[in-house]
Symmetry: C2
């Protein structure tokens, strides 16, 4: 699978997530020791094997998720591209969103086309908390 | 202030954060409607004014923070650069880290040098929770 634009890689990433297809999911990632994946509330996972293993765990569950991306911001350059979005997540056949996450995705142009090198997602539910009362910053 | 490398911009960002200098802090950011800042547990802030206002709020407090970056991963290209790191945060004169955050920083080469376009930080304390039990993914 060769993605000729960062957007194509992003679309494939979310389709693979929804269809729980581990091979397609990992084809959207760079095969690299330095890829980074942070699932909402989870630790930072680094490297192809750790990232693959986390998706295998997630896909092993029965939960069928669907994503709608909102408020997408993209910055594309020749070698690297950033996508920021709000992910609205629905579960199973329930049309009501179960929640939302803030996602930062970074894609890199590789000899095999555009591939994901960073997926950082965090719960957006806490958006009601003003930044000034956040625990760390 | 002109930062000739993404690393220079990153160092200036954390120094401005520690010294609570709003002018220096905002000089590390691109003056752009599409910049994105997510403080730990906070909402996604978009655009120069929203981002500046959040730092003003944070710097208005009395809390003196210091950062040590750990496990840094960098991907540099000609136009855009990614930095992923664990931020260990100490407060005041207490040498014991108050906590840690996972940070994804993206820098863009602009006519005014390298500037930050994304800062996405989320609490790392939850790293004890396995990804499979995370609420959204």
């Amino acid at each position: 699978m060769i993605f000729t634009t960062p957007k194509d890689a992003a679309i494939a990433f979310y389709r693979a997530f929804e269809s729980r297809n581990i091979e397609v999911m990992m084809a959207t990632w760079a095969d690299d020791e330095d890829i980074v994946c942070i699932h909402p509330g989870g630790p930072r996972l680094v490297g192809y094997e750790a990232v693959r293993s986390s998706w295998e765990q997630i896909f092993a569950g029965d939960t069928k998720l669907a994503f709608t991306l909102d408020e997408i911001i993209s910055i594309d350059t020749v070698g690297l591209a950033l996508q920021s979005a709000i992910e609205h997540v629905t579960v199973g056949n329930d049309p009501k969103p179960r929640g939302a996450a803030i996602a930062s995705n970074v894609f890199m142009r590789t000899p095999s086309g555009w591939r994901m090198v960073l997926h950082h997602a965090s719960p957006a539910a806490a958006s009601l908390v003003p930044a000034s009362s956040a625990p760390l910053h």
